[in-house]
């Protein structure tokens, strides 16, 4: 009756746990613990990827097209908005459509990430309360999930680029460092917003209104050049520089050094704030669930 054969069953790795009181930790000690958390979270990359993939699969389970609904809905949106705004702004579709398709896909990825970052920890409440796991694992899951979603929209951009034969050429490779910045900022956003939203439950609506406003004041569907000299305030909008470091190379022009400098400065500042907050509250997160 007993089907157990203890020798064939997997054994847990031996580990040592040593946790001191949160209130007695020094600033430096907190940084070390937070770094350990990140390293251990990265070591669990297989779990993080599986969780992210299952999230996507679950969202579209039961639908025939599965995650390709993402592709179709983006395609429809790009076609509709391209046609509408192309007429409104009297723009040549041949240059405008590739711009707006890429812009919209990137912006949607960014704003989806920001809103999902809010539930980084609250979404995994059950897990956090039942097993000790690195908190970075949850951030990793959200970021991988966003990357998978973004990847599903690539065919739309390819189609538009193909249609208007506006391939960027070799300069497109310059978007890779831009993507690297996005990736790092995405982790920072998950740790920052995830922690904040675990403590204060009314943040997600605030964040979504901020992102709504950001959409209008960032050159997503309109071009910065259209503002002319009235656009002096654009450098103060971090989203503008961040969008430009990825978008410009893919549209065939290298971003200027100042755009690069701005994007890097904003990212360094953002990551620093996020890191300090995460290191400060990491030990308290489980209490807030």
């Amino acid at each position: 009756m007993d089907s157990l054969s203890p020798d064939t069953l997997p054994r847990l790795r031996t580990s040592t746990l040593d946790i001191g009181a949160d209130s007695e930790l020094t600033h430096a000690h907190r940084q070390i613990l937070a770094s350990t958390d990140v390293v251990n979270g990265l070591k669990l990359w297989r779990l993080g990827c599986t969780l992210a993939w299952l999230d996507i699969k679950l969202k579209y389970r039961g639908s025939m097209l599965g995650p390709f609904w993402l592709t179709i809905s983006t395609g429809v949106m790009v076609a509709a908005m391209g046609a509408l705004y192309g007429t409104l702004f009297h723009m040549d579709l041949k240059t405008y459509l590739p711009f707006v398709a890429l812009s919209l896909v990137l912006w949607n990825a960014l704003s989806a990430l920001v809103s999902e970052a809010c539930s980084t920890f609250t979404q995994s409440e059950g897990t956090i309360r039942s097993i000790r796991m690195p908190f970075f694992l949850h951030a990793f899951r959200v970021v991988v999930r966003s990357v998978i979603s973004l990847a599903h929209n690539v065919p739309v951009i390819m189609a538009v680029f193909g249609l208007y034969s506006s391939w960027p050429g070799a300069v497109g490779m310059l978007s890779l460092p831009g993507f690297a910045i996005w990736l790092i900022d995405a982790f920072a956003a998950c740790l920052l917003l995830g922690s904040f939203c675990a403590r204060f439950r009314d943040i997600p609506p605030i964040v979504s209104s901020v992102m709504q406003i950001a959409f209008y004041v960032t050159p997503v569907i309109w071009r910065a050049e259209q503002l002319g000299r009235k656009g002096w305030w654009l450098p103060f909008n971090p989203f503008d520089a961040l969008l430009e470091v990825v978008r410009a190379p893919l549209l065939g022009s290298a971003p200027s050094a100042s755009v690069w400098a701005l994007a890097s400065c904003y990212s360094v500042a953002f990551c620093t704030v996020s890191w300090l907050l995460f290191a400060r509250v990491r030990g308290r997160l489980a209490y807030w669930m």
Binding site: P6, P10, L12, T16, L44, L54, D202, I206, W288
Partner: protein, 251 residues
């Protein structure tokens, strides 16, 4: 060799109720100068108060106490989920905490997917996950249901899957809440043998229970928790007698 050292550990839960959960209200309170007062008078629940325990290989500890005495909090603290407000916690040896039968189980995922996730949470390799799957499949007897979302399971099937998963992992330190006593009679007979083999395999057992029977059968030492403190610590018969004398009114 497994070892647990709980060194004068205290756990305070912040009480966030109503406006403390809201950023807007917190900011407005700060703006009107009320935050300072709030800080000093921040209400907390003292879930554990200077709890000190030392356990070595071979120890079988039972935790008894009324609801809210701090039993589950103590288990979670030993599992490293809550970092202590004061004191220090050290655990040597692999640890598995069976706190909730559906631990991290996602009802939208299939049984098989849930098994894979549990394996990954425990850091198992692909081969080990395959072994885990086979073992759970044998024990839980879910047949074709294993490939259906857990949402479609009957409550009995859900218990079997949860139990099979929880007991398929052999830790050196086993922390258990009393949930595993649930289940239909047929299942209990089969489950008991399996649970006993996991418990025997563990070097240290910490069991939290309301039920005198389980504690007396499995534990060699009992801790009576009361309002977050250790009220009494000693041999099962002795502690249980005092506990029952106080909690069960004499007729």
């Amino acid at each position: 060799m497994a070892r647990i050292r709980v060194e004068n550990v205290s756990i305070d839960f912040p009480l966030f109720h109503g406006s403390a959960r809201s950023l807007k209200k917190t900011v407005f309170a700060a703006a009107s100068g009320r935050l300072g007062e709030d800080r000093r008078h921040r209400r907390v629940v003292q879930a554990l108060r200077t709890v000190d325990i030392e356990l070595a290989s071979g120890d079988r500890l039972g935790l008894i106490g009324t609801n809210g005495a701090g039993k589950t909090t103590l288990l979670r603290t030993i599992a490293g989920i809550y970092e202590p407000t004061a004191g220090r916690i050290r655990v040597e040896g692999s640890l598995n905490a069976l706190l909730d039968p559906n631990l991290g189980m996602n009802v939208e995922l299939t049984g098989r997917e849930n098994i894979m996730l549990r394996g990954l949470y425990n850091g198992f390799t692909r081969a080990e996950i395959a072994a885990l799957e086979e073992d759970v499949q044998d024990f839980a007897e879910l047949g074709e249901f294993l490939d259906l979302p857990v949402r479609f399971y009957s409550s009995g099937m859900l218990v079997r899957l949860g139990f099979a998963l929880a007991t398929a992992i052999r830790p050196q330190v086993l922390l258990m809440d009393e949930w595993f006593m649930a289940g239909d009679a047929n299942f209990i007979v089969k489950a008991r043998a399996r649970l006993e083999s996991v418990v025997r395999g563990a070097e240290i057992l910490v069991l939290s229970s309301h039920l005198a029977g389980a504690v007396e059968a499995w534990c060699t030492r009992v801790l009576w928790m009361d309002h977050g403190r250790i009220r009494m610590d000693g041999a099962p018969a002795e502690v249980m007698a005092s506990y029952l004398a106080e909690t069960v009114p004499a007729h």
